[in-house]
């Protein structure tokens, strides 16, 4: 108990005289704020991308592609195949009794990105009449859906924000023909980065006779196996079936890994730098207080209390830095919207997500740096020979 009280008293003296060592104390705070800020921002990017793709998929929704194709862009399904798939067992019927299925065409179009002005690949998705009913998350937030057979576009909210010329009412030239933006939709997932139109209109504009994928709503999550088995048993079909949740999880894997490797490498190196900075600061701190500490030890303060007190100071500064870094990352990057090249060779718009879990993780790094940076100077202070320390060197 005595040790704790002594340490508390010592730590208090240390912390209350911090303003006199402001410059060097800032080294710990800023160094750790840097590590935490960068780590949180990069991981928030990973989590945001992952969350956007994860939200796109469902357990009770399946996507069907040509056998061997690994994305919609590389797949091709004929009209007959699409009909067979929609009528397979396990598919939920709509209010009109017809299956909730949508045969879709995916085309990549060039549109300039607002931020850079350079052309980027934007996904134009031609969807079937039941696409909106199938995807419960899609809501039209402005204007109206496109009319069948017309050159009309329903654009995702993310696409409107990121790419030029997609505002409601504007005309866009696609495949050399004018298309009108008649509505904007929100879905909170990867579809928001897309531009939607009637599948038949897209097929005729791009002179295609086939579809790329068929999406179906299943009667429930367990119906997937029935549905998959039925398609596998049909000799007229050679297709791959996946739950959309799994499909989109796979699509995010590559970028996730890239960001993870980058974030960890950067954070480790920055943490090493910050630890050296922290060591420097704490050595300086115990050096300026060497005489005072020696006097207190002569008065009966134990070495343990000295170690503890120095550690408390280092950790307090580290946590302060960690919180500062996390706060900056949160203020600047939470909901910061960017887009990158994702599945289907086209842009996926997503927002950074700074979550409490991420911040807690990053604070652990801050704590570790504080402990490492405080330990050696603390031992040094506690072990300095009393007589020479009292004489002031």
């Amino acid at each position: 108990m005595g040790v704790l009280r002594q340490a508390g008293a010592l730590a208090w003296t240390g912390l209350s005289t911090l303003h006199r060592r402001l410059g060097s104390s800032l080294v710990i705070v800023v160094g750790i704020a840097g590590v935490v800020g960068v780590l949180v921002s990069l991981l928030a990017m990973r989590d945001g991308f992952q969350a956007t793709l994860a939200a796109t998929g469902r357990v009770d929704e399946a996507i069907v592609l040509r056998g061997g194709a690994n994305s919609e862009l590389s797949s091709r399904l004929t009209r007959e195949e699409a009909t067979l798939i929609a009528e397979a067992p396990g598919v939920l019927g709509g209010p009109d009794g017809r299956p909730l299925a949508s045969a879709e065409v995916v085309v990549v179009v060039n549109l300039p990105k607002k931020a850079t002005g350079t052309d980027s690949n934007v996904e134009l998705r031609g969807v079937g009449p039941r696409a909106l009913a199938l995807r419960g998350q899609v809501r039209v937030v402005a204007g109206r859906p496109f009319a069948a057979g017309r050159r009309e576009l329903l654009v995702g909210r993310g696409a409107v924000a990121q790419f030029s010329g997609l505002a409601l009412g504007s005309r866009v030239s696609l495949a050399g023909e004018p298309w009108e933006v008649v509505g904007v939709f929100a879905s909170g997932d990867a579809h928001e980065s897309e531009v939607w139109a009637d599948a038949e209109s897209v097929q005729s504009a791009y002179r295609r006779d086939a579809f790329q994928s068929v999406r179906v709503k299943l009667t429930d999550a367990r119906a997937f196996d029935t549905f998959k088995a039925a398609l596998a048993a049909d000799p007229r079909l050679k297709v791959d079936v996946e739950r959309t949740r799994d499909y989109y999880a796979t699509q995010s894997q590559r970028l996730r890994r890239l960001i993870e490797v980058l974030a960890t490498t950067v954070a480790i190196i920055m943490a090493i730098g910050a630890t050296f900075g922290a060591l420097n600061t704490m050595y300086a701190a115990v050096a300026t207080r060497a005489r005072e500490i020696a006097i207190l030890r002569a008065l009966g303060f134990t070495a343990g209390a000295v170690v503890l007190a120095v550690m408390i100071e280092a950790v307090a500064l580290a946590v302060l830095g960690g919180l500062l870094g996390a706060a900056i990352a949160w203020l600047v990057f939470d909901n910061y919207t960017v887009s990158t090249l994702g599945a289907n060779f086209s842009q996926v718009v997503f927002a950074f997500r700074v979550t409490p879990g991420l911040i807690l993780d990053a604070l652990r790094w801050a704590l570790a740096i504080g402990v490492l940076g405080g330990l050696l100077p603390a031992l040094h202070a506690a072990r300095a020979p009393l007589t020479s320390a009292l004489r002031g060197r």
Binding site: G23, S24, L26, V27, V30, G31, G34, G37, V38, S41, R66, G67, G68, A69, N70, S71, L73, S74, R76, V107, V108, V109, N110, K113, A115, T116, T118, D119, S120, N121, L174, A175, G176, T250, R254, R257, L258, V261, L262, T265, V266, I269, M270, I272, G273, A274, F276, G277, L279, N280, T281, Y283, A284, V338, S339, T340, L341, F345, Q347
Partner: protein, 387 residues
């Protein structure tokens, strides 16, 4: 130089502090080396060649194919020396994770327009003579352990073939290497022949993904690019022609503003380094007020004392920075390995060393000057009285 001893003595006065500061400078420059490597890959692409090459893609989008019939018309343009073409095949070797670009190309024209690809005459001969031939890059050979003579099966994710399966089999006839002074992008790619591809696929026969146009005089490439696009304006397949460099840049930008992310991280890192070393220098000079006063008493001019302190900062930052960049050279292969195939191999180039050196000197001035100016203004009498 006669004061070198004094500069070193100044740094060694407080060894552990100098060492720790040195270490944080090293860490900062390791990071700089790594990130600048990443930035270079995204902004310029690994090969800086291709000044005399134009890329012709569909104006609609990069995935829209172009008719083969355009080749002859482009080749007939004045100032065009050769036209090659390629199709993105998107084949997968064993598992999706083993991603690498594989392209169906016009064999002879492709090799002629890409002189940075090094092949032995026998390898070249075999590629031109064998219909199922494939050339693989040296990075892929290192990754998968292939050798000349191996059969290479790829699953055609986009293109099933007319034998009713997804598997295409190729014969590896050569390994593409890059030269000493120029890295070839092909070192990470696999190339095979367009004729084999076009006969074997089920749809899209007679179309190509993009053309690579070699021009006689790079200075005229802008004009020729416009001439190509004009040739097909208002046709069914309008084109968009860019220099290879512009094309690579535009493509890299699609991944996002990597330059901005890197700049933001580097700003955070260097701000910290500035603080750490600045603090050390200021502390060191403060402790030596007495010494400095004595130096001045002995007849050292204010300017010399000032220079001594700045030189100390320079030595610390340049030594630490150089050590950091050297370490980055050692670490980069490991990072590249962890990212297998996601990015082209990363390297610390001459450009990074130069920028790094500039940063070291700038930082040294920033941290060295304030205490140095303080020493310049120091009055001997006051300082000695305090000491």
């Amino acid at each position: 130089m006669k004061y070198a001893g004094l500069v070193i003595a100044g740094l060694l006065r407080h060894r552990s502090r100098t060492l720790l500061t040195f270490a944080s400078v090293v860490a900062a420059f390791v990071l700089f080396g790594l990130l600048n490597g990443v930035r270079t890959v995204f902004n310029e692409g690994p090969d800086t060649s291709g000044q005399d090459r134009l890329i012709v893609t569909s104006r609609l989008s990069i995935i829209q194919p172009l008719p083969y019939s355009q080749l002859a018309r482009i080749a007939a343009l004045e100032g065009v020396t050769q036209v090659a073409h390629a199709n993105w095949f998107g084949g997968v070797y064993q598992d999706r994770k083993n991603f690498f670009p594989n392209l169906a190309v016009s064999p002879e024209a492709w090799l002629d327009t890409h002189p940075e690809i090094l092949l032995s005459p026998e390898e070249r001969e075999a590629f031109l003579a064998t219909r199922t031939a494939a050339l693989v890059g040296e990075d892929l050979v290192a990754r998968f352990g292939w050798k000349v003579g191996d059969k290479l099966p790829l699953a055609g994710t986009i293109f099933p073939n007319n034998s009713g399966s997804n598997t295409w089999t190729f014969d590896i006839v050569g390994v593409m290497r890059s030269g000493a002074e120029q890295r070839a992008r092909a070192a990470g790619e696999m190339l095979f022949r367009y004729d084999y591809f076009d006969e074997g696929r089920l749809q899209g026969q007679g179309t190509v993904g993009w053309y690579v146009v070699q021009v006689e005089d790079p200075a005229r490439s802008g004009e020729i690019a416009q001439a190509i696009d004009a040739l097909f304006r208002n046709s069914d397949a309008e084109t968009k022609t860019q220099s290879e460099k512009e094309f690579n840049l535009a493509f890299a930008k699609q991944f996002g503003d990597i330059g901005l992310i890197v700049a933001a991280i580097m700003a955070a890192v260097f701000f910290t380094v500035l603080l750490v070393t600045g603090n050390t220098m200021a502390q060191g000079v403060r402790e030596r007020t007495g010494d400095i006063a004595i130096l001045k008493t002995l007849g050292f001019s204010g300017g010399t004392v000032c220079a001594l302190i700045v030189a100390e900062a320079m030595l610390l930052l340049v030594a630490g920075g150089a050590a950091g960049l050297a370490l980055a050279e050692l670490v980069l292969p490991a990072v590249s390995n962890a990212l297998r195939g996601q990015l082209p191999p990363l390297e610390v180039g001459a450009g990074t060393w130069l920028t790094g050196l500039g940063l070291m000197l700038a930082l040294a001035l920033l941290v060295g000057l304030p205490p140095a100016l303080g020493a310049l203004r120091l009055k001997i009498v006051d300082a000695l009285a305090r000491a």
